[in-house]
Symmetry: C2
Subunit: 230 residues, 2 copies
């Protein structure tokens, strides 16, 4: 069998396979996130349940990636940079999964507003959608830099995250202001849900940062300052 | 060298080492959580920064565990149940880390209330501390069942989590009620922080559930229904 004669070729094929599956899972994660944001914008009929279903389906792909990585480590004892890549693929699955579930949380929180989300003050709506855009950019950047092994790009994510933190603080302030003027209990409930949504977005940005730190570690072989913040 | 003559003995030693370190990290995680709750109760002088520092120190232990696990897989090709245990030790680190950082988030949110937390309505205070107790019980149960490979106990965590979800919904309702009566902007700000704290507690409970699912998988060799929900 060719596999026995040329073990390194088979090894490369297996690594390529893993990379393809991580790419597939990353793309699906981005889709899930974008669908959740469409729900938030009121542009999408996809219910929270459908989004939860897609993130659960993604679990299977990621579980397969994890098994393939462990098997490859056990059977081929890869060294140095290959090993770091394979380890990172195990870890990145956890981050992608969390982005999926946090996206489902966003869609669920919108569903719990029961149509009242249209009454959200314009300023707050803009804050949140601005955060969502910024977070999407970070997520794309994180995934791209991981797949492309681009540690410079990955490093930008720490600064990007400061911006999302600022946006979070700003929306919290605006929501607090708005709540103090509102009498109606339902509107208050809606605004409280919005705080949670802002937090989910911030957590998704945190996942992007963690993917960035993993990328730096994978490329340079040493850990980033604070590897995981979420 | 004894290590070459009796490789399986050395293998058992290494597995024991990993287990000890996971136990140490678990204990530290529980301590960090309990310190954060003391901050919340106003009983502890430990600042959020100290809690963040301890969770960062824990990163080093967990990073060591991860490396030891990967090395063991690469050099000894463990099979079946050993492999599942080692894989699970890689994964459990992620959950412990998140519990540490979420605990730091709790302490930070309390700090942001700047002493105003004493003015929180009694009912809401009780809700949150009840959630905190319940979450601590879940965390202990998750860690104990993992270390003791007790899948029956691990399975109870799904039901426990429903209870925490109910407590979360209840506190959200009480906070919304309370906010509608409050005029002062600072008190509103405090109550908003409390919502975030309730969410952090719920997320810590989610981590306990994930550890439970990992435990079931480790013991029985098949995945739990929904492996990771946080």
């Amino acid at each position: 069998m060719a596999e026995k004669k040329y073990p390194r070729i088979s090894f490369r094929e297996k690594i390529k396979d893993i990379k393809n599956n991580v790419e597939k899972a990353s793309q699906k994660t981005l889709d899930i996130y974008r669908n959740a944001i469409k729900v938030l914008q009121g542009k999408n009929e996809k219910t929270a349940e459908k989004i939860i279903e897609s993130s659960e389906r993604m679990d299977d792909i990621l579980y397969g990636v994890e098994k393939a990585c462990i098997n490859l480590i056990a059977t081929e004892q890869p060294l140095a940079s290959d090993l770091r890549f394979i380890e990172s693929c195990i870890k990145i699955g956890t981050h992608l999964k969390r982005v999926g579930y946090l996206s489902a949380d966003i869609a669920e929180a919108v569903a719990e507003m029961k149509g009242k989300e249209k009454k959200i003050p314009k300023k707050i709506r803009e804050d949140i959608l601005h955060m969502a855009d910024y977070t999407e950019m970070m997520l794309s950047k994180a995934i791209y830099s991981f797949l492309d092994q681009n540690s410079e790009m990955a490093e930008e994510l720490d600064k990007d995250d400061d911006k999302v933190d600022d946006l979070f603080d700003k929306s919290l302030e605006h929501i607090a202001e708005s709540i103090s003027k509102v009498k109606n209990k339902e509107s208050i409930y809606c605004l409280l849900r919005l705080i949670l949504i802002a937090r989910y977005l911030e957590r998704i940005a945190d996942q992007a940062v963690s993917i960035g730190h993993r990328t730096v570690f994978m490329v340079r072989g040493k850990r980033a300052e604070r590897e995981e913040s979420a």
